[in-house]
């Protein structure tokens, strides 16, 4: 490793950082404009062309606002919480491949900050650390609404993190690797010669679970319970102002971009797309960036669309969806993916057992999934009148 390698690394880091920071600013502006259009309003349109610089102005304004520190706060933790949130949000995108590959002289440069063997596991790890920012903010504020908002957000985040982790695990099983560049590479090529070999087609159940899970993970509508204004004021960041509030805001919107990028990487082939013979050149790599950005934008559009369309979910239904439907379904899907992988590999050796095994597999999948559907009618009833819980209640009285 010499100076040129270091320069390449610094260049890649700066490029990714700029892409994500500009993307966040554009997202906030784009969301306001788009939601305004969907609600027959105009939206921000004064600063710059079509109000493009509105986010910059808002950010600058927050810098010059009074940085209020309420009396009751635990000072160290109170300052650390927004720091953790924002830094973690920035670190998360390190493993996302956001463009193609090109060569400078002898060196092959991939547009990706960091490509470790743990790959997308880094994203899950960082989203777990991100929970600290929220729970510490809620706890250290020394105020009731932030405390309740903080524990609520935490419960929501960890509940959906399970489904997200397991649906990504199905992708890991299917592609046999955690490394994000190898997951992307496994998705190049064509299925049946026509459609792209993206994981979204064979792993469609995992994709749907992962999509719902990331909407809940980023606390976007209809799962924006933590900021249910009517009951919690603003949730865990109620007592924050100035740049500390701006950091939570930045983290929240940057996470929207990052999780979209994770979905694109795991299910939609990352920067994969027709390169028109430009493979290995700088233009080809930049074309990869264009494909990547377009795919991410498609997800972001759906996120904003959801916000304009759906009312907020009730908290017990949110938890019930996460624990009773998505968790067993994603677990069953991981096993189904595992079975598919082993079956495809050992296909030749078991020609005689093929029939019985298929039946067995079908039965076991049914057995795994059955409880989900048998409980489905229970979800909408008030929890009090479920008759099958009566013995359990008696037990509790006895204790």
């Amino acid at each position: 490793m010499d100076a040129v390698d270091v320069a390449i690394i610094v260049g890649k880091v700066l490029a990714a950082f700029a892409l994500w920071l500009v993307g966040t600013a554009m997202l906030i502006w784009g969301e306001r404009r788009l939601v305004a259009k969907m609600q027959s309003r105009v939206g921000p349109n004064r600063l710059g062309p079509a109000g493009l610089f509105q986010t910059l102005a808002d950010g600058a304004k927050l810098f010059f606002k009074e940085d209020i520190t309420p009396r009751n706060v635990d000072r160290v933790v109170y300052v650390a919480a927004p720091f953790i949130s924002a830094v973690v949000a920035i670190l998360t995108f390190a493993v996302i491949p956001f463009g193609g590959t090109f060569s400078i002289g002898e060196r092959v440069v991939t547009l990706q900050v960091w490509d470790p063997n743990v790959g997308l596991l880094w994203v899950l790890a960082m989203s777990s650390v991100g929970v600290y920012g929220i729970v510490l903010a809620g706890w250290s504020s020394g105020s009731k609404y932030p405390l309740l908002g903080g524990v609520r957000s935490t419960a929501q985040l960890i509940s959906y993190e399970l489904s997200l982790g397991l649906s990504l695990a199905a992708v890991f099983v299917f592609n046999g690797t955690l490394r994000s560049s190898e997951i992307v590479a496994a998705q190049s090529g064509r299925l049946f010669g026509v459609v792209p070999a993206w994981n979204v087609f064979p792993m469609v159940v995992a994709f749907v679970i992962a999509f719902v899970a990331v909407v809940a993970e980023t606390q976007r509508p209809p799962f924006d319970l933590p900021e249910a204004e009517g009951e919690l004021v603003a949730g865990f960041h109620t007592e924050y102002s100035g740049a500390k509030f701006a950091m939570f805001f930045l983290a929240e919107f940057m996470n929207v971009i990052t999780v979209s990028a994770v979905l694109v990487t795991a299910f939609l082939g990352g920067p994969d797309g027709p390169l028109f013979g430009l493979d290995g050149t700088l233009a080809g790599a930049l074309l990869g960036v264009v494909y990547f950005v377009l795919k991410v934008l498609a997800f972001i559009f759906v996120f904003i669309w959801l916000r304009a369309t759906l009312p907020r979910a009730r908290y017990d239904r949110l938890m019930s969806l996460g624990w009773k439907v998505m968790l067993p379904l994603s677990l069953a899907w991981v096993m189904a993916a595992g079975f598919a992988v082993v079956f495809r590999q050992e296909y030749q050796n078991i020609a005689s057992l093929r029939g019985p095994l298929l039946i067995l597999a079908g039965l076991s999948v049914l057995w795994l999934i059955a409880p989900v559907f048998s409980r489905r009618d229970g979800g909408d009833r008030p929890p009090d009148d479920t008759p099958d819980r009566a013995p359990a209640d008696d037990d509790r009285v006895g204790v």
């Binding site: 309420p70 670190l91 020394g142 105020s143 399970l162 067993p328 819980r389």
Partner: protein, 121 residues
């Protein structure tokens, strides 16, 4: 070996610098005119009562149960990741072993479900 982590270090320094500088700068640039009402905990305009430490106050024990369940199933997920990578070399044996493990945990899950541990009262 450690050089592999250099990009992450560079990104961390950049992130920490950006976030830290923003927070410091804002604390310096903004006006500072504290008064008792402004520094009180926000409770929609009414005087917060009791002023005692909210951090020691109570909140539903339900959240604790969620955290415990999360740990059980997250540890399970952690076992699945290395299995996902090595499944191709483990073959049927690996699938069967993980099947037993997942089935056992699923039994636990079913018990919790039937006992009403996932109901949100």
């Amino acid at each position: 070996m450690l050089a592999e982590y250099l990009p992450l270090l560079v990104l961390f320094v950049l992130a920490a610098g950006f976030v830290g500088a923003s927070m410091l700068l804002s604390a310096r640039l903004g006006p500072s005119a504290p008064n008792p009402a402004k520094q009180a905990a926000y409770e929609s305009g009414i005087i917060p009562e009791p002023e005692a430490d909210v951090r020691g106050s109570r909140f539903p024990v339900k959240f604790y149960l969620v955290a415990m369940l999360f740990i059980i199933f997250d540890v399970e997920a952690v076992f699945i990741y290395p299995w996902a990578v090595t499944l191709r070399s483990l073959g049927w044996y690996g699938l069967a072993v993980m099947g037993v493990f997942v089935a056992l945990l699923f039994e636990t899950y079913y018990y919790i479900l039937r006992r009403g541990g996932l109901e949100w009262d």
